[in-house]
């Protein structure tokens, strides 16, 4: 399964590097939202709970753009048919899409965090980065696992974007809640959260549960 997932991932990343359809859209959306917040909030800097809300909600909505496009080539260009004809475990497709989405989110955050720091954040990110990184990685993992699952559920429906948003956003509430709780003290003058380990543990548990659920059900999802 790993070799198959690697082949699908390589194909997806090749197409993304060549066409630049997902990551640039996610980055552009994110920076635009930061600019809108900058003027919409009518203040030069934010911190604490407002900063936490702005960064996580913006990243989540940007992720939706990538999630909505995850399986478009498979549906429009016959990838699903080609894979269902091949002697593979179709869970490899979910794994490849989840890893691709994880890579897209990391690429997004490499640009989005400095942009957020520059455009909105009061305290600055430098001191918070060592503790912010594991929060981001675990949250990305959860978004990637659930996003790759929900996008496959919705891809054959007519209102794909709406279905993804309606299904995904409620499922990701625990991720956003935990990530925001863990992040908020870091964006309040670089204070270290007392319960960081607890929230990281919560995020890790969420990730494990949804990875297991996805592995268990994905093959059935693609069955006719």
């Amino acid at each position: 399964m790993i070799a198959t997932a690697r082949a699908i991932l390589r194909k997806d990343l090749t197409i993304e590097v060549r066409r630049r359809e997902s990551v640039p859209a996610m980055v552009l959306f994110t920076v635009t939202v930061f600019v809108l917040f900058h003027f919409g909030l009518d203040r030069d800097t934010v911190e604490g709970d407002i900063a936490t809300g702005v960064i996580w909600v913006t990243l989540l909505l940007a992720a939706l753009l990538g999630i909505n496009r995850l399986y478009v080539a498979e549906r429009d260009q016959g990838g699903f048919v080609g894979m269902r004809l091949a002697p593979i475990d179709l869970t490899a497709l979910w794994l490849a899409k989840a890893v691709a989405l994880f890579v897209y989110l990391v690429a997004l955050e490499i640009v989005a965090l400095p942009a957020f720091d520059l455009l909105l954040l009061g305290p600055g990110l430098d001191g918070a980065l060592p503790e912010l990184l594991p929060i981001l990685l675990l949250a990305n993992l959860g978004v990637a696992a659930v996003g790759a699952l929900v996008a496959a559920l919705a891809i054959e429906t007519r209102a794909r974007e709406l279905i993804v948003a309606l299904l995904l956003l409620p499922l990701l509430v625990p991720v956003i809640l935990a990530a925001a709780q863990a992040t908020e003290p870091l964006l309040t003058g670089g204070q270290s959260p007392d319960d960081l380990a607890q929230w990281l543990g919560f995020l890790a548990l969420y990730d494990v549960v949804f990875v297991l659920v996805s592995v268990a059900v994905f093959d059935f999802l693609l069955d006719e």
Partner: protein, 218 residues
């Protein structure tokens, strides 16, 4: 090789295939005729294990459908209406991707590209190729893993006579493979058929009867 008995397939209330029965032995070619919407593509997708038959008995390559459709994976080559290729990859990249899915060795890619006359254009993006060239790459993809059964949905559409001649040993009767060919070309189809099936509104109306096929569709 293929044995269908009273197979039925529905999409909601609409019956796409009903009471279709046909037998094809190893190495034979079944040619399926019928107007648009008659159920030809649905039949191919049932035979490929992509769609479940809702009633009747269907056995393909010793796999009883739909229960054992997983057994067909890797044994069927399918040339569909769409090429089943990624537009943003080159022919070689597309074939390399499918080769990895089917665990086919790299030299086989060059061999099938050569067989369909696409070696020189193997590294151009698919969007730069003509429809006929894409169809040749689709044929290469279908035979890449040396399948036991070829399912061909109007495989000669968009091809010039030279390309048809080139593809004859790849997906034509000269390939020696068991084939199911969907076509609107009655004369051409009958010339390569060992078994014929005419479909109308999903029903098999002229099984094995060339005269009836000519009367209905000629």
């Amino acid at each position: 090789m293929i044995a269908l008995e009273a197979v039925e397939r529905r999409f909601g209330e609409r019956v796409a295939l009903r009471d279709v029965s046909v037998h094809v032995e190893k190495g034979q070619t079944l040619v399926v005729f019928g107007p648009n919407g008659a159920g030809k593509t649905t039949l191919l997708r049932v035979l490929a294990g992509l769609l479940r038959p809702h009633s009747g008995a269907a056995t393909v390559l010793n796999a009883s459908l739909p229960r054992e459709s997983w057994k067909l994976r890797g044994k069927v080559g399918y040339v569909a209406h769409e090429p089943l290729l990624y537009r943003d990859l080159t022919p070689r990249e597309n074939l390399r991707f499918h080769a990895r899915l089917h665990r086919v060795a790299e030299p086989r890619i060059d061999a099938v590209l050569h067989a369909v006359g696409m070696t020189d254009r193997a590294d151009d993006e698919l969007t730069e190729l003509s429809r006929g060239m894409v169809q040749r790459v689709a044929a290469a993809r279908a035979v890449l893993h040396d399948p036991a059964l070829l399912l061909l949905d109007e495989p000669w559409a968009g091809l010039d006579p030279a390309a048809i001649e080139m593809l004859e040993p790849v997906i034509g009767s000269a390939s020696g493979k068991t084939r199911v060919v969907v076509t609107h070309d009655v004369a051409g189809g009958l010339s390569e058929a060992d078994v014929t099936l005419g479909l109308r509104d999903g029903a098999g109306v002229a099984v094995g009867d060339e005269v009836a096929v000519r009367e209905l569709y000629g």
